[in-house]
């Protein structure tokens, strides 16, 4: 096989990888805190809040992410007549922004359920011990509860993070030139599966790095059981 062709394919895929990586980073940046918030809403005593949040989670988990991306992208125009085609934030066009919004909303729902499980698995005794020692609610949450929850949910979160890397390829539906979109274009231009294979290797390398890092974090938290 032509080495030159493989090299140029790799370079072009790496350009697409910038977007893949961007979607990945921004999605985590927004969906993890949002997931924590959604989890709290889901556990809220106020039944209106908890019901609304429950429906949100149900829809996010029960419909295809690809469909959600399309709705975020086209929704503003078809629902409100707002033209988003030329909207930009900094260097990002609306295709990319809509992708990040769609991914974040979707992943927040999954993260929320993971966090909820982690928070609810905490024993009441931890809250009670903190209460009689005089810790405020937020001190209890951030010093006592959350650190333990993070350790408990890390394996499940790792699962979602790895899935997210592969899911970024769904952004092709909005014609974001992420790696998979580029691979598809190259494959049909070259009439070859080679670009797909190279893209697959890139996805795998990224996930391998994530896996090793998360394992390391997990290990660093294993000082107690």
């Amino acid at each position: 096989m032509d080495k030159q062709l493989i090299l140029s394919t790799m370079l072009q895929l790496l350009r697409g990888f910038e977007f893949t990586f961007g979607i990945f980073v921004f999605t985590l940046l927004f969906s993890l805190p949002l997931g924590l918030l959604v989890a709290r809403g889901r556990m809220a005593r106020n039944s209106v809040i908890s019901t609304v949040v429950r429906i949100y989670i149900s829809i996010m988990r029960g419909t295809p992410l690809m469909l959600q991306l399309l709705l975020v992208y086209f929704g503003p125009y078809y629902l409100f007549g707002i033209s988003t085609g030329n909207a930009v934030i900094g260097p990002f066009n609306y295709r990319f922004i809509a992708t990040v919004i769609g991914f974040s909303l979707n992943y927040a729902a999954y993260f929320a359920e993971i966090f909820r499980g982690g928070i609810q698995s905490m024993s009441r005794g931890q809250y009670e011990a903190a209460q009689v020692l005089g810790f405020s609610k937020s001190q209890t949450y951030f010093r006592i509860i959350l650190p333990q929850v993070i350790k408990n949910v890390l394996p499940s979160v790792a699962n979602e993070v790895i899935t997210l890397v592969k899911d970024t390829s769904l952004a092709q539906v909005l014609a974001v030139t992420e790696m998979f979109t580029v691979a598809k274009a190259l494959a049909s231009a070259q009439v070859s599966v080679m670009p797909f294979v190279v893209a697959g290797v890139f996805y795998y390398i990224m996930n391998a790095i994530i896996e090793v890092s998360l394992n390391r974090i997990e290990k660093s938290m294993s000082y107690y059981s």
């Binding site: 009670e128 209460q131 009689v132 020692l133 005089g134």
Partner: protein, 258 residues
């Protein structure tokens, strides 16, 4: 302050408190007063309301009616038909006046022994870290755990964990300590170490309320024993008298089991 010398000063005043969970009334008008330096053991069958009494006194449960005063500050009081609790600020103050030792320790597993003890000192009582560390070292020495400061709770035996939790309860320099069945989760061997620590505290005139099933311990260490059953105090009196010569039929039946 003159009242410091007043040995009759009451650290804990519980006046006619009632507490129900849904339709089940667990505390049916309990009154109990504990003087400074006094050790009171609360005994009785399971479901008699002992733990609920302790939980009400330590703000973990809210009472339906009655009055609780800790260290001279009113935690809650019923005025007319309404039971009013102290505001947030006073509540923090009241919580610093007592310590609570749980049956199953409830140590923070992600903190070292040292942090378990100093975390509240530093972040609630706003003590400098060096000062908190000094308090911690002194308490660990007292608990015979000086070499365990950097251990995590999971690496300690149950008895050691309970002694850490006693140290944690003592760290804030409380006026009274509540123990909720402190040895019920421990085997007899480990129970000894915990009981001897409590004995030591009693010798230092620490004010304590101890819910316990250790009858001989209660008899030897407590000044007074309160026998609870069915949500009421059936009988109370000097520890030795109550154990050796109970008056009420129900108390006799209960003690016969030991």
């Amino acid at each position: 302050m003159a009242d410091k010398e007043n040995t009759d000063e009451n650290i804990l005043i519980i006046d006619n408190i009632r507490k129900a969970f849904d339709d089940l009334e667990v505390l049916k008008g309990i009154s109990l007063t504990v003087a400074r330096g006094e050790v009171v053991a609360v005994i009785g069958p399971s479901g008699g309301g002992k733990s609920t009494l302790l939980r009400c006194a330590t703000t973990l449960e809210k009472i339906d009616s009655g009055k609780i005063v800790i260290g001279g500050q009113t935690l809650c009081d019923t005025v007319g038909s309404k039971t009013v609790y102290a505001d947030k600020h006073s509540l923090l103050d009241i919580r610093s006046k007592f310590g609570l030792v749980f049956q199953n320790f409830n140590l923070f597993p992600h903190f070292s022994v040292r942090r378990n003890i100093t975390e509240a000192l530093i972040h609630v009582h706003k003590q400098p870290k060096a000062e908190a560390d000094a308090v911690c070292d002194a308490l660990l020495a007292k608990m015979d755990l000086s070499d365990k400061a950097d251990y995590f709770p999971c690496n300690l035996s149950g008895g050691q964990q309970q002694r850490v939790s006693i140290a944690r309860a003592l760290a804030g320099n409380p006026e009274i300590i509540f123990f909720d069945e402190p040895t019920s989760a421990l085997d007899p061997e480990l129970t000894k170490g915990v009981l001897s620590v409590i004995r030591e505290l009693a010798a230092e005139n620490m004010t304590m309320v101890i819910v316990t099933h250790e009858m001989s311990f209660a008899r030897d260490v407590a000044d007074r024993i309160v026998f609870m059953d069915g949500g009421v105090i059936v009988e109370e009196g000097p520890a030795y008298d109550l154990v050796t010569n109970p008056k009420a039929q129900r108390t006799k039946e209960f003690l016969a089991g030991y």
